[in-house]
């Protein structure tokens, strides 16, 4: 086991990693930018090194400074947390070169999954279902034939595109010719290329992801799924485990395929395989995140495992103490991401916290680096706390989250607590009826 680990991150995840290290008896090195000098991850680390000014590119993304900090403190391994350098294959390589263990997957795995198209192709080859689609369609006839195969509705998408331009949803063969033409014209006008392709369109998708863990001895396990459908502009807002849409059979089936695919690419350490689910509960592989995730806590709540400890243990070469697919998910867990932002406008709200009270009691977990009189700097992510609850079932978890939100007091800055209260009070949410469009109903401008 490592004697000393450097934590290349800040905020709640730096504290989270620090907790795991302390419980394993490993000494910790914190790194921090100048405005983070009085952060709790600095306060609780055994050693701390200032690595640069506020700007991330000169501090938390500063590879040379972080490696130097590891070298001058004699750290043996680096935990990257999430964000910053966590999915940077070059950083993982530099660590290897400098004989520092990168606590995460091999650089090749990070690189493969970083190329979303390549990842989708590879995972399709390895047996995971992906969203059916075409290459660039040359003619109307070809498009009609392909759409028939995929099944309506289909989406016409600009090959060079983005931002919704050059995109059309086609409900039937009748509509296709005209909409194909419009999309091509728009693509030409917007991107200088009229190339379009077709993809299956899911009107009300859910976002489901599987947590996996792999050791260096070929063992890969999955720890069930998380439901991350409640999103705003592709940012997760609230997560649950298990999903109301995934029963034991589907979990076993897809989990088994995930394990096989990851064994094939020699994956190791923690990772998350993300899927889009359609109305018939088909799961289409979307991408893989090669790191620990913000929402890992809901999986910890229902499995009783400490994922960060396990990350460190497998990085040190230990065998996973878990048998594949034997994990029982107990009860139901929900996480709310509490962000320093205005609950109406969603603009970030940095500043000094003047009053702070975190909820406690049965089944409540709070991961935060904030405290009364602490300052939320304007330079980084707005996530200031993860509020996680566990209940014997989803109903109890929802009741518990509602009372916990009510008892979470943050004064001095605005937070997303009111937004979460609205979500939890929503009858459709309570009934488990929602898609990734759900949050649009709370947005003044209808942007979900």
């Amino acid at each position: 086991m490592f004697g000393k680990i450097l934590i290349a991150n800040r905020g709640e995840i730096a504290l989270r990693v620090l907790c795991a290290c302390k419980e394993l008896g490993i000494r910790t090195v914190a790194v921090y930018s100048e405005p983070d000098r009085y952060s709790l991850h600095v306060r609780f680390a055994d050693e701390a090194v200032c690595i640069g000014p506020a700007r991330s590119s000169e501090s938390y993304l500063n590879v040379a400074a972080i490696i130097s900090a590891a070298e001058i403190t004699g750290a043996e391994a680096i935990h990257p947390g999430y964000g910053f350098l966590a999915e940077n294959p070059k950083f993982a390589e530099v660590c290897e070169t400098c004989r520092l263990t990168f606590i995460g997957p091999r650089p090749e795995s990070i690189r493969l999954m970083g190329d979303k198209n390549a990842a989708r192709k590879r995972m399709a080859e390895l047996g995971l279902q992906v969203l059916p689609g075409t290459e660039v369609v040359k003619s109307e006839a070809e498009a009609l034939k392909a759409a028939e195969q995929i099944g309506y509705p289909v989406m016409v998408k600009a090959a060079a595109g983005g931002g919704g331009r050059g995109m059309r949803i086609v409900g039937s063969a009748d509509e296709l010719p005209a909409l194909l033409q419009t999309a091509q014209n728009e693509a030409e006008a917007s991107f200088g290329s009229s190339d379009v392709y077709l993809e299956k369109y899911i009107a009300s998708p859910r976002h489901i992801e599987f947590q996996v863990l792999a050791d260096e001895h070929g063992r890969v396990v999955h720890l069930g799924e998380r439901e991350c459908t409640i999103q705003r502009r592709h940012q997760k807002v609230l997560e649950e485990s298990p999903s109301t849409q995934v029963g034991p059979d589907l979990r076993r089936e897809v989990g088994g395929k995930v394990i096989q695919a990851l064994k094939a690419i020699g994956y190791r350490n923690a990772g998350t395989v993300e899927f889009l689910m359609d109305e018939n509960r088909n799961l289409y592989f979307l991408e893989m995140n090669t790191r620990i995730q913000v929402e890992h806590a809901v999986t910890e709540m229902v499995t009783g495992l400490d994922l960060v400890k396990l990350q460190i243990q497998v990085a040190a070469g230990e065998a996973l103490p878990i048998e594949g697919d034997t994990i029982g998910l107990r009860g139901h867990a929900i996480e709310c991401r509490i962000c320093a932002e205005d609950a109406e406008s969603f603009t970030p709200s940095a500043g000094k916290i003047t009053g702070f009270h975190v909820p406690g009691g049965t089944g409540v977990r709070v991961d935060t680096a904030a405290y009364a009189e602490s300052v939320i700097p304007p330079y980084y992510d707005s996530l200031i706390a993860k509020l996680v609850v566990h209940g014997k079932d989803r109903t109890e978890a929802i009741q518990r989250m509602r009372r916990a939100l009510e008892m979470f007091i943050v004064e001095g800055i605005s937070t997303s607590i009111p937004l979460h209260e609205k979500i939890l009070a929503d009858p459709d949410f309570q009934a488990g009826k929602f898609s990734t469009q759900f949050l649009r109903r709370f947005s003044p401008n209808g942007v979900g």
Binding site: I67, I72, G351
Partner: protein, 181 residues
Amino acid sequence: MSGKKISRSNEGTERSWDLKDIQQLIDLLIQREVAEFEMEKDGMRIRILRRASGGTVLSMPTDAAQSIPAPSNNHLHATPAQADAPAASEPASEEPLEDHHVIKSPIVGTFYASPAPDAPPFVDLGDDVDVGQVLCIVEAMKLMNEIESEVAGQIVRIHVENGQPVEYGQPLFTVKPSEPK
């Protein structure tokens, strides 16, 4: 490191503070643009906080606002170069004189006073240096980074020792600038 108090044990008996003293103190703080002042002495304690014209207090200017202190067992924080650590042990020399220039480490790494193990140091205490003159090396990731003087003047303090690890922003040298010509 908490060292947030200036406790000068027991000098003399009790000349107690009156309003006039406080007024003078406040004026001094205004004049020198001090945002926060705290003092504890012989059971007396005084704390003065000034707020800049505005209100939004994101200021951690002088640290005193923090009630949860930085780690005390922090080896890097404990190096003599740290701004707040030595204040207790040698307050006189630490307080940089207004006209002096402190050269800080631009990177994290290891401080070397000389170009090679057997070579003499780049500069010694009392040496005169020119703008651009190499003062030391900070090694990071096997790269030797030469640190140059930003001002011309005399080296009046060397904050770190040969071979010592330094963090970003850590003071390396204090230079007393030569008279402007």
